[in-house]
């Protein structure tokens, strides 16, 4: 048994941390979302729903939110399409090279996000590596403009950045599948393909859900990739929030948008948690 004093000493710091750095800011943000900015650039502390109304009324806000979700959805799909086969190969067929390959997948995470985003800029730009190469081998006459400053560039970069996040939970789920289940399936006459779809994939679903949640939530809130590579057409909702809190000086509207995103993300996490529970059997 631990003494009361000990329990208090252990629980107090994290409790304080959560209160000061999470609860209070969120509460403040929630309050801000009901206030408004006067012409004199001062904030009026009167409670109304104008900001939420604006969010629905002004096209650019909800359209950007939808586009962000669409970008995040594509990033999720591509991350899963890349991450799943990689995780499957590593878990089932890599043999003795497993640890080495695993480290190779993880290494990009040690490189600064900013560096990786800039790297794509040098690859995709008009004078970039890709366009130079394409012109050198005479596949194109002029630099391809859609490569950089477009939603394409954003999806590509975010996929590159978040694939390891999708990979990791999938890999963990696959590693947890008892290998005698795979043998039992073969023993009962199932081909490798049937075994994958009837045993391996269903049992890896919790990992897929967790990986998809990571990729979607992280890329939905991203603002660096669209800032550096998105151009006007690749703007995402976080960029709008940043500008509302910065140059536009409309904290209340920024807070309202942030709160909507928070709600979206939390409900998403809730559903993915439910889904993971439903598909785990240990």
């Amino acid at each position: 048994m631990f003494s009361r004093a000990y329990k208090a000493a252990v629980t107090l710091p994290p409790l304080m941390w959560v209160t000061v750095f999470l609860l209070v800011p969120y509460l403040l943000m929630f309050c801000y979302s009901f206030w408004s900015v006067l012409a004199s650039q001062t904030i009026e502390h009167s409670w109304n729903l104008t900001n939420y109304g604006q969010l629905l009324r002004i096209d650019v806000y909800w359209q950007t939110l939808l586009r962000s979700m669409w970008i995040a959805a594509r990033v999720t799909i591509f991350s899963l399409l890349l991450g799943y086969p990689l995780a499957y190969f590593l878990s089932f067929h890599a043999g003795t090279r497993k640890d080495l390959l695993y480290q190779l997948v993880i290494i990009p995470l040690w490189v600064s996000y900013l560096v990786r985003a800039y790297a794509w800029k040098t690859i995709l730009g008009s004078d970039g590596v890709l366009n130079t190469l394409l012109q050198y081998v005479h596949l194109t006459k002029h630099p391809l403009e859609f490569l950089l400053y477009s939603p394409f560039a954003v999806v590509l970069t975010l996929t590159h950045i978040y694939t390891p996040f999708a990979f990791l939970p999938i890999y963990a789920a696959l590693e947890h599948i008892p290998r005698n289940l795979v043998e039992a399936s073969h023993d009962l006459g199932a081909t490798p393909g049937q075994t994958f779809w009837k045993v391996i994939f269903p049992l890896s679903i919790p990992g897929v859900v967790a990986g998809a949640t990571f990729a979607f939530v992280l890329s939905l809130g991203d603002f660096l990739a669209p800032l550096l590579l998105g151009g006007p057409s690749g703007i995402m909702i976080s960029n709008i929030v940043v500008s509302l809190f910065g140059a536009a000086y409309n904290w209340p509207l920024g807070a309202a948008i942030s709160f909507c995103m928070l709600l979206l993300v939390v409900s998403l996490l809730f559903f993915s948690e439910r889904l993971e529970k439903k598909w785990s059997f240990s």
Binding site: S185, H186, D187
Partner: protein, 368 residues
């Protein structure tokens, strides 16, 4: 008395006359993992409808041999045939062999019913047929009431039955069982031994049963293949292997025995203070004498071929139905005697056994 070689020949002939046709034939199979030799030159035949047990200690290679038959391991040398069909070149999912795994390996995301239906589903049998065969299989193992349960909701013994039904529903020609009872407690285990055996009789499928438990092997098997360090020591019926063990290891591993080391010269055997006449080839010899074949002499006239010796009782252990008595007979010879019931406190005794019960066995050489 006839020598051991003729006795074995006679029983082998009797075996081939009554045995039905051969189902599985393992020919000179060997297995190496790197430099580690796990199996060497194993040849073994399994008849239709036979219950064969591969018995061995852990590390004897018994599971590896089973995995070579099921296809999860490939043999380094040798062949496996099922009838006219060469098995060892086929992937596991093409072999008409099913396995009951040590830890059952039930699919956790499927219900009991779906688990049992798995093999028929992947074989794309019609739905009506699947339903009726699954029902029948669950009935056979008395698990119909749990058809809709997930494996995590049923007990170990029940999972065991489901694993059995899942394998049998495919009507394999051969069922492999990898220590299927080892995870069950003693009572349930004995009950399952009986059930499994009667189920095997009922369905008439050949079983290859792997275990390290010699009693289990004795109770269930038509024949036992005793494996030691990757080599077969003896393949015989439980009675044969107990009554006429071929090697010292077989004699010691299956039941208790007295191993008597001695010498044969000119038709007479001498083991320390013991002397009897027998027609074996001259030279050093090793004999197995079961404790229950040694009696406390009642002082009457010796029986024909009887060997008698006096000794001092060193230890008595009462086991209920029988009592084990250790008797020191001088010259370093200690004999263990099994007597029915309790014999009371003993001191000096005279022992008696028939020389026919001293079975000549081969030395089991230590191998690395």
């Amino acid at each position: 008395m006839s020598s051991i070689t003729t006795a074995v020949n006679i029983s082998a002939k009797a075996g081939t006359q009554t045995a039905p046709s051969t189902l599985l034939s393992i020919r000179n199979v060997a297995k190496r993992f790197g430099k580690n030799v796990v199996l060497r030159d194993i040849s073994l035949e399994v008849a239709e409808g036979e219950f064969l047990t591969i018995l061995g200690e852990s590390g004897s290679g018994k599971t590896t041999l089973l995995r070579i038959i099921s296809g999860f391991e490939s043999a380094s040398a040798g062949e496996v045939w099922m009838g006219e069909e060469r098995l060892d070149r086929q992937p596991p999912y093409r072999r008409r062999v099913n396995t009951v795994f040590q830890h059952y390996a039930l699919f956790p995301h499927l219900t009991v019913e779906q688990n049992v239906a798995y093999g028929l589903r992947v074989a794309k049998r019609p739905d009506a047929e699947i339903a009726s065969r699954v029902e029948e299989a669950l009935e056979k193992v008395k698990m119909s009431a749990h058809a809709k349960s997930k494996p995590s909701k049923i007990s170990g013994g029940q999972q065991q039955r489901v694993a059995l039904a899942r394998a049998l529903v495919n009507r394999p020609r051969l069922l492999l069982l990898d220590e299927p009872l080892s995870a069950l407690d003693a009572n349930l285990r004995r009950q399952m031994q009986v059930e499994l055996k009667s189920l095997q009789r009922e369905v008439g499928i050949s079983f290859i049963f792997v275990t390290h438990d010699q009693e289990e092997a004795m109770v269930m098997s038509d024949r036992i293949a005793l494996l030691r360090s990757g080599e077969l020591e003896q393949v015989a019926t439980p009675r044969e292997i107990y009554g006429r063990p071929a090697t010292a290891y077989a004699a010691q591993f299956i039941g208790h025995t007295n191993l008597l080391r001695g010498e044969v010269r000119g038709g007479s055997v001498r083991c320390g203070p013991l002397v009897w006449s027998a027609a074996f080839r001259d030279g050093p010899a090793l004999f197995s004498l079961r404790p229950e074949n040694v009696r406390l002499s009642d002082g009457n006239a010796a029986m024909a071929g009887g060997v008698r010796i006096r000794g001092k009782v060193r230890h008595q252990a009462f086991h209920g139905a029988t009592e084990l008595i250790r008797v020191e007979c001088g010259d370093g010879l200690v004999l263990v005697v099994r007597t029915p019931g309790s014999s009371g406190a003993l001191d000096e005794v005279e022992l008696e056994f028939s020389s026919a019960d001293a079975i000549l066995v081969r030395e089991s050489l230590e191998r690395i």
